[in-house]
Amino acid sequence: MPETTYIEAITQAMAEEMARDERVFLIGEDVGVYGGAFKTSYGLIDKFGPERVIDTPISEIAIIGAASGAAIMGMRPIAEMQFIDFITCGYDMLVNFAAVNRYLFGRACPMVVRGPAGGGTHGGPYHSLNPEAMFMNRPGLKIVAPATAYDAKGLLKAAVRDDDPVLYIEHKYLYRRIKEDLPAEDYIVPLGKAAVRRKGKDLTIITWGAMLYVALDAANELAADGVDAEVIDLRSIIPFDEEAILESVAKTNRVIILHEAPLTGGAGAEFAARIAEKAFDYLDAPIKRVAALDVPTPYSPPLEAFALPDKAKVLKAARELLAY
């Protein structure tokens, strides 16, 4: 399908999965008649009716709770958070109920919770969250964060078909800024597999979501200096592709972990620890992390730009690594 945007890829994935499997339904605020705050579910209610595209009260607990209850009855709900920031309102439901169904009770809970995440859109502190780290330490959830339209569609389809709950983090900065030709035929992107977006030998940048493009920009600039950077798009945070990380580090011996969430306690800390534990002997320099400042994401563009990672910060880290 020619020139499909990231957000259209998400809509297509939902529509195709709902057409393929009558157990799949969408539940969330304004997802039906209005078609979603970002129009992600535009047209779905016309195709599938209000029983399968359910407008709810403003109730993240009820949305995630009801999706969980339906999932353990054999349905395959997709629960939308209008902004992923509001997932904290339903956090308890997700980590204490949805995530534990299999480990504690042997019950399958096949559901997806998805919603627009991320900053760079001047959304302010309550519309810019990158939530992955707050779920990584609560076992039982899979977490994915697509960076391309191809992956947005393929990962969402894989998430819907997965027999465990999946947190699907879509970056709203990418919604209408990127597009690509997508295959006409059905495909999935398997959970847990990273993609090498740029091959290189001098240093590795590990990232995911919208930061992929910051990493690629930085890599292009480094190339002008004769530095060949490898860029790994993790795609899945849980489970994550440890093999791809270690393989790349073994090759380049220098690594930057880049993420848009705040530095302290961020997902990068976990990946850094794994690299230190399992690839220490391959490292020629300390592991670098480039991440947001440890502050709530501020609203005003100059403040937001200062707080979030950008190409200059990646380049600074890269040059420090190369000079080490």
Partner: protein, 333 residues
């Protein structure tokens, strides 16, 4: 002659069996607790067996109905078909308990196959979950009804409110029982809510509300049955408040010194099991011999279940690493 709301003599004796099974099973768990064979906490339902059994008895498990207990509704899951040996294995943290030693007491059950689903510890969370279970039932055209228990304390939580509101908007086939048993741990109901009655919360949701004597087995059965019929016929959610009393502390360690002695004595006079048995005898449904026979049957069954649970193995330690996600085959084995 007493009104039995369509219950036959056999059904009345069946209810009596479940009342005695509930009380005796918990007494057995107390004995096992004192022998240090119960690993975790022990939360008694003494005084609340009547409403737990009677409400659950109003469901139709062949139709796919699902009951969701709280910690003091062991009687409800026994009615739904939970086996005493499984409950004992849960308390004793055995490897062949329904949760294979991963969760405690009556926190277990699969709504698709068991007719019940145990709670999680975050009070109120099961209301939205039960909304989802009944929503799925409606989408799957199963015409099933859900029955959820919540306490006077649990009805203060945000999850309770969101679940009730969503279920009411959707007119889901859900019956929610608020047990007002006087105390949430040590906190009396008047410190929990300024509502005139907890059933008044129904006004906020636009669902049906009703208050009933929780120690009157037949009255609880009648009110629940009507609510279940309303739910099944598309009449939406009912919030049923049952007035009862927690005759023991929050858990076995709690001597409930904060509860006035006279209050406990007053409620002892209203014991739901004794009251039901008196009704059975006074109305000629049962003789004292019939009741004694039921007590003996219950004791035999619990003895067998105890031996079986006691002889069950503890889990294999390394199993703790398995079964988080689909794919390692742990739960299929």
């Amino acid at each position: 002659m007493v009104e039995t709301y369509g219950l036959t003599r056999d059904q009345l004796l069946d209810i009596e069996y479940y009342l005695r099974l509930t009380r005796s099973l918990e007494e057995r768990v107390v004995a096992l607790f004192r022998q240090a064979k119960v690993i975790g906490g022990l939360y008694r339902s003494l005084g609340q067996e009547g409403e737990s059994v009677a409400a659950a008895y109003a469901l139709d498990y062949k139709q796919g109905d699902v009951v969701q207990p709280l910690i003091r509704n062991v009687g409800a899951i026994l009615v739904a078909g939970a086996k005493p040996v499984d409950i004992l294995r849960q308390y004793m943290a055995k490897g062949n308990s329904p949760t294979r030693g991963r969760e405690l007491n009556i926190h277990f059950g699969n709504p698709q196959t068991d007719g019940f689903i145990g709670q999680i510890s975050m009070l109120g969370d099961m209301i939205p979950v039960m909304a989802g279970i009944t929503l799925a039932g409606r989408m799957q055209k199963k015409n099933l009804v859900g029955l959820a228990f919540i306490g006077d304390g649990g009805s203060s939580t945000g999850a309770f409110w969101e679940g009730m509101n969503f279920a009411s908007v959707q007119r889901l086939p859900l019956v929610v029982i608020i047990e007002d048993n006087g105390y949430a741990y040590s906190t009396p109901t008047w410190k929990q809510s300024a509502a005139r009655t907890l059933a008044d919360k129904a006004y906020a949701f636009g669902c049906t509300g009703e208050t009933v004597d929780g120690n009157d087995v037949l009255a609880v059965y009648d009110a629940t049955k009507r609510a279940v019929e309303r739910a099944r016929s598309g009449g939406g959610v009912t919030l049923l408040e049952v007035k009862t009393f927690r005759m023991k502390g929050h858990a076995e360690h709690d001597n409930q010194a904060y509860v006035p002695k006279e209050l406990i004595e007053q409620w002892r006079e209203k014991d739901p099991v004794v009251r039901f048995e008196r009704m059975l005898i006074e109305n000629g449904f049962a003789t004292q011999e019939d009741i004694t026979a039921i007590e003996q049957r219950v004791k035999r069954e619990i003895d067998i279940a105890t031996d079986e649970a006691d002889a069950s193995p503890m889990p294999t330690p390394s199993d703790a690493a398995l079964g988080l996600f689909d794919g390692d085959g742990y739960w299929n084995a």
